[in-house]
């Protein structure tokens, strides 16, 4: 078996790839090798893998039903019997709510991380490729959104759309897409004038084909870095909306909303608000660490000296 991995390693590290897929895999593997050397980034990745596993296995891991109220058992302290992280004001097990809350966090982050970059990619590549008035108008709109303070804009959107998890996702996405559009446009402008694009144009490729097959793939890596670095901000924004009562609605075990519930008892029962805050902090820290590492691998020109 070790012999086999040895040859696999050699195959992946070859200087003379035999096929397109071989070259791709080889590049991926080399990126992974340099990423693996970054301890902090690996820690971040590890935390996130654990988070995903917890979210998937929530029903197996949670000791209690996250919604089951037990009023006789309310505000139990840490390490109390059968409630390792205590209970909240309605006697619900905090650990179980935390575990189920990871699903909501991933749901929000996942949706925003899909909607915002895709919107930005569409706007940015179209603006960069088409140019002229289209570019002017699209970039003006982008600037206007960029000029808005994000949280306040999200608040105003939620006010218009109504509170709730889907609306919070929409509001955060609406405030998060402009930087992606800027990045995608900048990349498109450099790619558009390159020789191979002219070659494809001469072969008769249309704008749609060039954008989707030749420009998008090259924009992806800088977008991924930016998305990972933005994730922490998205989590904090979602938690902030939840805390204000504008995101996930009770009895949903969203972490921000849990802090808001615990706030009333902060002086006597501090753990009710403290524990979910630690969870938010850990996850957003993990995303920041991962983002820093990915930036070094995928986008060396932007990395810190």
């Amino acid at each position: 078996m070790p012999n086999n991995t040895g040859t696999l390693r050699a195959w992946l590290l070859t200087d003379t790839p035999t096929s397109r897929r071989h070259a791709k895999l080889s590049a991926l593997y080399q990126g992974w090798l340099s990423f693996r050397g970054n301890t902090m980034a690996m820690v971040g990745l590890g935390i996130l893998v654990v988070l995903v596993l917890i979210a998937f296995a929530a029903p197996l891991l949670a000791p209690h039903d996250p919604f089951a109220q037990e009023l006789g058992n309310r505000l139990q302290p840490l390490w109390s019997e059968s409630h390792p992280l205590g209970t909240d004001s309605l006697g619900r097990d905090i650990l179980s709510r935390l575990i189920y809350g990871s699903r909501i966090t991933l749901y929000i982050v996942g949706l925003v991380a899909l909607i915002a970059p895709i919107t930005g990619l569409l706007v940015g590549t179209v603006a960069g490729y088409v140019g002229g008035w289209t570019d002017q108008i699209l970039m003006r709109i982008t600037d206007i959104f960029l000029a808005f303070p994000r949280l306040v804009l999200a608040l105003a959107f939620v006010a218009a759309l109504g509170a709730g998890i889907e609306n919070a996702v929409l509001a955060i996405s609406l405030t998060a897409w402009p930087p992606y559009a800027r990045i995608a446009r900048a990349e498109t402008l450099t790619i558009r004038s390159s020789d191979y694009i002219s070659a494809i144009q001469l072969q008769g490729a249309g704008a749609l084909r060039i954008i989707t097959k030749h420009i998008w793939p090259l924009c992806i890596s800088s977008l991924i870095v930016r998305v990972t670095l933005d994730m922490a901000g998205i989590i904090l924004a979602a938690a902030g909306l939840g805390f204000l009562g504008l995101g996930a609605q009770p009895p949903s075990p969203e972490w921000g909303a849990m802090i808001s519930e615990g706030r009333r008892f902060i002086l006597d029962h501090w753990w009710v608000a403290t524990v979910p805050g630690m969870a938010i902090f850990t996850v957003s820290l993990a995303f920041n660490l991962l983002g820093d590492g990915l930036r070094d691998v995928l986008d060396p020109k932007d990395s810190e000296h």
């Binding site: 206007i144 006010a159 904090l236 706030r263 957003s284």
Partner: protein
């Protein structure tokens, strides 16, 4: 502004018409951005599920009362006309009446804004005083323990939910240690004692020479201001570090060192002097971010500023107040952005 005197010499050589053109372009983009801002708030105000007419006349109003209010609000006019009426009103500082306080929104904002300004100013001040030296030292001693500390400080700052950190601060410094005043701007005994001149209690109490109020206000503001200060410190120290690194690797620094200049002169008189403009733009941005970041902080500390105002209005569906507050915060945000852009263009000869 020593920089101003120092650098404007080069500007006079630029052709005049270029400057006129650039000014017009900048003005144009400011106007477009502001119109865009108002357009967004206008659209938000239209799509919201609350009927503005019903909110005024009430559920039991007769058809004719309803129609009258409908016309008074201008809702019977074409949507484009409505938008320009809205812009006209906003330019004249008319944001409508707040349903919650029954006063003009503009008056409400004038009343609550100084509280936010006081908090954010103190926060950004702390961020500058601590963040700039930290960033410079981190860059000079790259890889040392202090660089690592600066990195961790920034990383934690980027990852911590501000409202949670505020709660923990209240719990520890107010609840357990009792070192600082609790939520609110002053203790209950000190409310409305000093006459409101600027609306900022610290300043007002100094003007009134009422040191008891000043002390009490300080003990209340110190925690939320440090909290905001920490966030701007994270950002400012990071940016300072990367600006300094860029300068320190430049050739003129090597030249200065070869000439035998002392290390502190190299750092402060050469490298630091060249990042001042960049730093001011970063500080302006950080200030803008704090005005926004104060929304959640104000809630935690029951601070009666614009963030609390918007959120309270939001929870009671007081749309005029929400949109008025949003427009005001947005305008300040844009102005600070433009200010930092302009500064860059005027004082950095390379940006031309």
């Amino acid at each position: 502004m020593a920089i101003a005197k120092h650098n404007t010499g080069g500007r006079q050589q630029a052709p005049l018409e270029l400057w006129v053109r650039a000014t017009f372009l900048t003005l144009g983009s400011i106007i477009v951005t502001m119109l865009g801002l108002m357009f967004i708030t206008f659209v938000i105000g239209r799509v919201m599920p609350i009927d503005p007419v019903l909110a005024i006349v009430g559920e039991q109003a007769s058809k004719s009362t309803y129609d009258q209010a409908y016309e008074q609000l201008g809702l019977d006019r074409p949507i484009v006309v409505q938008f320009f009426i809205y812009v006209w009103d906003v330019i004249h500082g008319d944001f409508g009446k707040s349903l919650l306080t029954a006063r003009p929104v503009a008056d409400d904002i004038k009343r609550v804004f100084p509280a936010t300004l006081e908090l954010a100013t103190l926060g950004v001040f702390a961020g500058i005083v601590l963040g700039v030296p930290l960033g410079v030292i981190a860059a000079v001693r790259r890889g040392s323990w202090i660089d690592q500390v600066a990195r961790v400080v920034a990383l934690v700052g980027y990852s911590m939910p501000i409202f949670w950190l505020g709660l923990m601060g209240l719990l520890i410094f107010y609840g357990i240690l009792g070192w600082v005043g609790g939520p609110g701007r002053v203790g209950i005994f000190y409310v409305d004692i000093v006459p409101s001149v600027t609306g900022m209690i610290l300043v007002d109490s100094i003007l009134d020479r009422n040191w008891a109020v000043f002390k009490d206000a300080l003990s209340h503001i110190i925690l939320p201001a440090s909290l905001l200060g920490y966030y701007s410190l994270a950002y400012i120290s990071r940016m300072t570090r990367s600006f300094m690194l860029e300068q320190l690797s430049a050739e003129y620094i090597t030249t200065a060192r070869v000439k035998g200049m002392s290390e502190s002169a190299v750092i402060w008189r050469h490298a630091f002097k060249n990042i001042r403009v960049q730093l001011i733009t970063v500080i302006a941005l950080s200030y803008a971010n704090l005005l926004e970041g104060s929304v959640l902080t104000e809630i935690i500390f029951s601070w009666p500023g614009i963030g609390s105002y918007i959120t309270t209005a939001l929870l009671s569906a007081d749309m005029n107040a929400v949109l008025g507050g949003t427009v005001v915060v947005g305008l300040i945000f844009i102005l600070l952005n433009i200010f930092s852009d302009l500064l860059y263009k005027v004082f950095d000869p390379r940006a031309k």
